[in-house]
Each structure stands twice: as structure tokens, then as C-alpha cells.
Assembly symmetry: C5
Homo-oligomer: 233 residues x 5
Amino acid sequence: MPDRQFVKYTFLKVDPAWRRLPDAERAEGKREFLAACEDYGAERLLRAFSTIGTRGDCDLMLLAQATSLERIHELHVVLGQSGLMKWCSIPHSYLAMTKGSEYSDDSRLEIRPQHSKYLFVYPFVKTREWYRLAAPERYRVMQEHIRIGREYPGIDINTSYSFGLDDQEFVVAFETDDPGAFLDLVHRLRGTEASAYTKRDTPTFTCVATSVERALNALDGASLDVGLESLAS
Amino acid sequence: MPDRQFVKYTFLKVDPAWRRLPDAERAEGKREFLAACEDYGAERLLRAFSTIGTRGDCDLMLLAQATSLERIHELHVVLGQSGLMKWCSIPHSYLAMTKGSEYSDDSRLEIRPQHSKYLFVYPFVKTREWYRLAAPERYRVMQEHIRIGREYPGIDINTSYSFGLDDQEFVVAFETDDPGAFLDLVHRLRGTEASAYTKRDTPTFTCVATSVERALNALDGASLDVGLESLAS
Amino acid sequence: MPDRQFVKYTFLKVDPAWRRLPDAERAEGKREFLAACEDYGAERLLRAFSTIGTRGDCDLMLLAQATSLERIHELHVVLGQSGLMKWCSIPHSYLAMTKGSEYSDDSRLEIRPQHSKYLFVYPFVKTREWYRLAAPERYRVMQEHIRIGREYPGIDINTSYSFGLDDQEFVVAFETDDPGAFLDLVHRLRGTEASAYTKRDTPTFTCVATSVERALNALDGASLDVGLESLAS
Amino acid sequence: MPDRQFVKYTFLKVDPAWRRLPDAERAEGKREFLAACEDYGAERLLRAFSTIGTRGDCDLMLLAQATSLERIHELHVVLGQSGLMKWCSIPHSYLAMTKGSEYSDDSRLEIRPQHSKYLFVYPFVKTREWYRLAAPERYRVMQEHIRIGREYPGIDINTSYSFGLDDQEFVVAFETDDPGAFLDLVHRLRGTEASAYTKRDTPTFTCVATSVERALNALDGASLDVGLESLAS
Amino acid sequence: MPDRQFVKYTFLKVDPAWRRLPDAERAEGKREFLAACEDYGAERLLRAFSTIGTRGDCDLMLLAQATSLERIHELHVVLGQSGLMKWCSIPHSYLAMTKGSEYSDDSRLEIRPQHSKYLFVYPFVKTREWYRLAAPERYRVMQEHIRIGREYPGIDINTSYSFGLDDQEFVVAFETDDPGAFLDLVHRLRGTEASAYTKRDTPTFTCVATSVERALNALDGASLDVGLESLAS
């Protein structure tokens, strides 16, 4: 049986002062950050997303997965040594684990984003009333929710669990190429019985899928190749 | 059939330290920002508003529209390269999309601000009870709201939708030349049945319509022409 | 018929680093700020208050009134050019308008502070239940509130309206020379029927009335005359 | 009849950068702060407390009392001129007045801390339901509260009132040498009928009573005598 | 009879600018911090945890215990003198005391973490309704909670009490080597009757147990030995 995975969403905000540094220094800091990601991603899931233009409080999100919490910790220690992280804060951070779902028989011991163009992420807390319902009643309520979701086959969901590990109960990540369809789905789900048991589902992040390198380039509009040239001169 | 549009409200706050920079450096930073806006606005909707004097937490708001989210993302990457953004934070940011309304048959696939003098913007969240009402009941409740609104023909509304994309459900933007009439309208709407289903409608922004150039000039009281002279000397 | 007025409360916090500047630079920055206020105040209401010692999050409050929102905007653009504002943030800001009251026949189209020693200011939001009451019922409930207020003739009230313009519904400003009597009045009003319809009435600011010059001198304990001497030497 | 007093709790947080200044500069800044306190305290109540180790958001608390609000204002203007305050923020600030209590016949027109080792301070807001109870009912409910309090004779209470003056309704300050007994008392009071009418009683500050000089020395672990030597060398 | 203990959880966040200091300066600052911890820990409980990778708002947590509050205060004064603390803020801080539990006869006058790999910490506030229940009813409700907890023998709990001392009522710290089991336990406890009386149980911290030295090394990825070499060269 496969292991459960730790799942980490780390949202970074770059200090505007970083953009005032010399080109070569910025390029070097990004290259160190990229190296840490490539090292980690060689054997485990690591994905990068840009939130520039979709949020005001963060610029880049890393999604990392590992079977050991130590590996998640080490990734962030190594990232912290990069020149880029010396100018970053982490305004949002979500730690979670995978777990078999009680509402479906899919194996859910890994999250497996499908390389869609967008990821929509939010921390999720249900009301305590929800947990006081009997299991068959919760199952019944969820069927409407699941049924509506199935009408949108281009939208996949990755759910992970944070009970006792972080401030939320779940971290929910939807992925799709079609933001309008996703918006319409969420709008429709507001009317379901399950929706009344939502206590918190914000902040809600629209994340643009990209490579680590391109997410880094978006921070200052400079490609790492240009940076290399700057260093060489 | 026309495409749905992405709508982005980006509120900027300039670090007070920026105003301590040399005139020429400020002018150059503003000019780069202006160029990014002009480039974007050549083919799409981009409007600028000043919030100096109406808010304490922001100075300038950009309203941008595009059929692709990538274009919104790219606009903010290019803005980020301007000298001005190296001294700015984004304290408020709202991402939304257009959508046909269920309460009227107007085509609403674009927002079309009418060059009124003021725009009043707020993120909007309704209670979950609202969404549990049957559609005919919601329709009935909205009629009183709409009827009162029609008594104020000088006030137009632009609604966009953020379900699943951002922290709010709607972004509402009223425009008018007459703030007193708008205040009276909002006061009257407090007594409607629909109003009881409001969960959150703050922060509320009074935005003064202007050109990008004038919004930039208001940041330091210096016109870009003066800045050019400073550079030349 | 006189015009309705825009009313603006702007609370400033000076960066502690400003107090580390040379005397002459601070004096110059204050003098520019004072000049902007004197220019505005020559034709319109502009009052200054100190909150040093009464609040931790702000130092100085300006109360400005104008028949046009552009004039309020311009005042803040000109203030922003002063040396002092290059070291200030605006932690609290309230925009409002005057309006005839539905509970009294006084003309209320201007706020007219009477030069009392203290001004007590707070943003005010009522519950939605309040607005669902029939007008005669609201009128009845307000009578007890008004009757108690009249037992304190040394306390005057200036109410302005922010529906749709800012985050609050009202900005309430009481003025008196006797803070103890005001405290006792507010304590008594807690027991009225009207009080149950209060949703928010904080932050609450105790503001010490003074001249702009003295409010500026309180920021660094240096009078502008001393500053002038410093510049001359 | 004695006058009512203004009571001010000012909590300071020192910027970590202050600790990087030269010894002599820190000592000079503390000495100026101390002089302002000694001058004020010569004729009025001024007490100092350290919150280092008990809170993360503040380092030092000053409790000042005066019959005039101007004197409280002036104290803070003079403190602001000290070198220390050029590196401090005021994350918490409570303004209040004394008032005769409706539940006991003690004279309460002054707060008189008894030099206990600890002061436990919190701002306090009751629910509006509390104020709607008839006075005899409120009196009845308070008797249980007061009776339990009397079982802890080593714990004294100083209550002051902030209605209309600041964000809270009361500022409550308990003093004792025995924190464990105080904790047990507060735990027991949770079960009283009165407790159900509490709307807010945080933040809660554990304050270690000390002299101004020792509270200042705790900020950088340097005694002012050492500082004098540094200046002399 | 043994004394009750004070328990302090201090969460530190290092300013990103600290990582831009020369290696030797960082090493020296960490060494001073380590010395303060070793001195304190020689006679009392002091444990270090890293939150790098699990949280975005803090990097390191110290858990300290003492029979006197003065000793906790002094620890933080001495820590404040270290070079490291000149670049740190304390975003979270919890002060508590031990106390015999009313639900079990275990002696609980000390917290005794068992060197598990992880500590899960959160401040805890119950609803006022909880405290209004009769003691036998509270006892009954807790039995289900305790019974479920006993099904997870690899998870220990350390509870301390903050009534009147800090913003929360309890500080709860679970320890285990198995985060997945702990997550499952917390998920199951959501359905208990006791869970309905939870008012607040966030922020929730996943803390990785380590030595002080290793927690410090994780801050900049540099071991103190390397630092010593840097100083020697």
C-alpha cells in the first residue's frame, strides 16, 4: 500500500526593493532558487504557479509533495539559502496530507495535478454542525455536490487534509483550462445543501500554471538567460 | 457570440519613500508605468482612477479587461518592471469575470464604464441563505432592488463575478457624476428585503475617474512634463 | 438651498524615523504641510486635532469639508507634496457627506464644530434589522436616544453619511469640553432600545482640538519658530 | 469631592533595529525617556511594567493618571522627543477615566495600584444584552461575580471606563503577587452568569511590575549606569 | 507538593535581511542565542522546534518552563541581547501555567514532552456555554473525547492554562511521531459532543522537534561550525 503524502502550498511575495537590485544579483538569486526546486523536483512532485495579476498579496506559489515532513522542511531550508528568499515573505502557507476519501473509492494517496492551465486553491473549514451529522446523512448531502461536479468533466479536484496540522481543515485545489466554467460551477454549488456547512473558504487563489523558471522570470520580467549574459559581461 | 471577459481591479499604494526620490527618477518610473498602460489600453479596456483623498490605504486604481487571463497576468508583469512599481504594494486586488445576469436580459459580457466622474467599487458576498432560495423567490426579491435602482437613472452598475476565482463572490462597480444621489440610493436599498442577504460589502472605494497620466501626476503632484524637463536639465 | 458637503476625516501616523531627521528638515516639512492647510482653510472648513496620548495608531487628524469631492482630492494631493507626508501613513480615513436628518428638522447640510476642546469620532454601522423597521418605528426608537442626549446640553453631535462611499454608514463626531460627561452619556445610551441595532462603532477616537500649527508641533515637540531659527543658523 | 481621573495604558514595542545602535546612543535615548517619566511621576501616578517574556507584541507598558487629558497628551509629546521613542511603535493603547461603581460603594475616583508584583490588564466589552437588563437584575447577576472575587483576597481590581473615549468599554487591571491564584479565579468566573455577557476581553496582558529604569534596562539588557560609563569613555 | 510551572511558547520570525548579513555575523548572533538557551536549559525545561516549511509566519519555536515568571522574563531579556534577536520579531507568543486537570487524576504540574518527532500546538478557547454546564455534565461530555484519544496511544497531550494571563484559555500541545495518525484523531474528534463547544483553536502549528543548534542552523542553512571557521579565517 502506498504511503500518504505531505502536501505543501507555499505562497511567496517579493519585497519591491528586490526589483531595485542589479540585474546580475537578481538573476543569481533566481538561479539558486531554481536549483533548489530542480533538485527537489527530480524525485518528487514540485509545481510552480504565478499569481502575478491575480492577487495583490503574493507573486509565486510552489506546490510540493513528499512522503516525509522532513523533506518538506529541508526544501524550505534550502530555498531560504537562495538569494531570492532573502527578499521574500511567505504571506500564505498551507500544510496538509493526503487521505482516502469517505465519499468516493478513488485512491487519493497522492495529489496528481494534470497540467491544466489554472489551479484554484483555497483553505476550507466546515461548520461543527457538519461533523455532528451521522455518516449516512453526510454521504447523502455530498451526493448532490458530487453530481453537479460531474457535469463539469474538464474540472478536476485535488483535496488534502490539514486537521490538527494547520489552521484549515482541508486544502482544496481545482484545476481546469476553463476559468469561466469553474466560476459557473462554484456559483451553482452555492445552492447545494452541503454549501450551508461551509464556515470558511477564503482566501481563494487563482494560480497560473507555469514552470519554475517562467514563474521566476515573471517576478522581474527578466529571463534567466538575460541574467546569465549580465553576469558574463 | 462574444467572449466573456476577465475584469481586474488593482489598487496601488505608493511607499512614502518614493516621494523622497529625485524628481527625474520619479518621472521616469511614472513614464514606464504609463507606457505599460498605453500599450495594454490600445486594444483593451484600461481605466485609471485616483483614490487620493478618498482612501488612506491606496492611491491609484487600474481597471483592466481582457478575454484571456494571460493578458491580465502579462499586464502586471510589465507594470512590475516599471520604476514606479518598485515602490508600490497592492493592498487590494479583485479578479472577476463577466457573465450574463439571471435577473435581466441585458447582455453583460463586457463591462462598459461610461466615463462618469466617479466609480464606487466594492467586493460583495451574499449569505448562503440567499443561494438556498428558489430561483423564482430570488427573482421576486430582486425586483424591489431593481425598481429602486431605476429611480436613479444617472447611476449605472457594472457587476462582475468572482466565485471560485477570488475572495469575494461579486465585484460591484457603480458609476455616476452625482455622489450624493448614489449615497441616497445605497441608503434606501438598506431597507429592501434583498439587503438582509448581504454578508459583506466592504471595503467600499470611492474612485475619482481620470486618465492614467493624471492619476500618476496626483501621486507626487508633479506632471510628467515637468519630469521631462528635469531629466533634460 | 445650500449644497450638501463632503466631509473628510484623515488620520495621520508619522514614521518614528521622521523624528530622527535634522531639525531644519522636519521644520520645513511641517511648514509645507501647514501652508497646504492654510490655503485650503482660507475658504473652507479645515480643523486639526491631535491624537498623541489618546491613540497609539495615529498622531494627527485633519477634518476637511468641501462642496466638491475634487477639492478634497486636491487637498490631499498638495498635502502629499509636503515633506512631512513623505514620512506619514494614513491608518484611518473616513469619507462622508452631509444630509438632512429624518429624525429632526435641523438643517444639517454643513457640519459646524463649535470649537469645543475635544472631538470624539467613530465610524458607525447599524444592523440590517434596523433598516427593515418601518419608518415610524425607527422614529419611535430614536426618541429615547434623542431625549437622553438632550440631558447633556454641553455635548453636540455632527453626523455625516457614508453609504456607498466608504466602509461605514455614518461618521459620528461628538464635541464637548467635558469628557466625563460624554463618557457617562455613552454609557447611558448603551441601555436604549436603539443601541441594540448597533453593529459597529469602533475605532473610537478621542481627538484634542488644536490649531494645525500646534498639532504639528506636538509631533516632534518643536515649535515651527524654533525650526525657522534652525534654518537661519 | 475629588476629581475623576484620566487613566492611560501605553504599550510600547521597540524596533529590533534599536538594539543594533551603539551603547551610548541607546543609553542616551533611555535616559531621556526616564527623565520624562520622572518629571511626570513627581506629581502624578506613573508606573512602569515589563512585558518582555509575557507578550510578543510589546516590551514595556506605562500606566499614567491625571485629572486633565492635556497632561496625558503632554506626557506623550515629551516621551516622543526622547531618543528611545524614535524607534518605538505603540501597538496597544487604552484611554479611560475613573468613575464611581454602581455595584459597590467604594470610592473609585482614582486607581491605586498596590505595588503587587504583577498586573493583568485587558480591554473589556460587554454584550448589548447586558445593558438592556434592568438595574436590579444587573446588580443580582454581579453579586455572584463579586462573591467569588472576595474568596481571593490577595487579588485587587482597578476598573476604569472608556465608553465613547476608546474602542473598549472598560479597562480592567487586576493586581496580585500570585498568578496561579489569579488564573484559578478567572477560570472559576467563566462559569458565572455574568460571564455570558462578555463580548470581548482580549488582548490580555501579563505585566511584570518594575521601576521605569529597570523596565528600560530590560529592553537591551544594559543598565543605565553602564551606559553612562560608555558615554564617559 | 511540587510547584505549578509557567510554560512559555515563543515563536520567532527572522527578518529576511538577516540572511543578507556576513556569515560570521550571523554565526556570532546564533552562538549568543544558543548560549542563552543552554544556560537556561541547564536547570529547566527548554526545547527548540523548527517551523520552517510548516508555517510561513515563523521559523523557530522555543518552549520554556520555570516555576517563576521572573525566570521566563529574564530568559527573554538575555535572548534579546543576542545578535540574532536584533533581527527577529515574535509573531506568536503564548504564556500559560500548569494545573491539575479536573477530568483525570494524573499529576499535571509539569509538562513533560517525550522527545517525539513532532509537536502540534494551538491556543484554545471554549464557548461560554461550556462553562455554564454543570461539572458532571462537562465530565460526561469529556469522556467520549478522552476515550477516542486513548485509541491513539502514540499521541500524548500536554495542556497548560492561560485564563487571565494571555489571550487564550488553554495552550494545547500534542506530540507524536506519526502526523497522519494525529490528523486522523483530530478529524474524528470533530464529531464529538465536546467539539461543539470549541470557540477557537487556531493558529495551529506543526513544529519539528530538534536541538536549539539545529533549529538555528536551519535559519540560514549554515552550521555553527562553519560559522566558527569563518570567524577564524
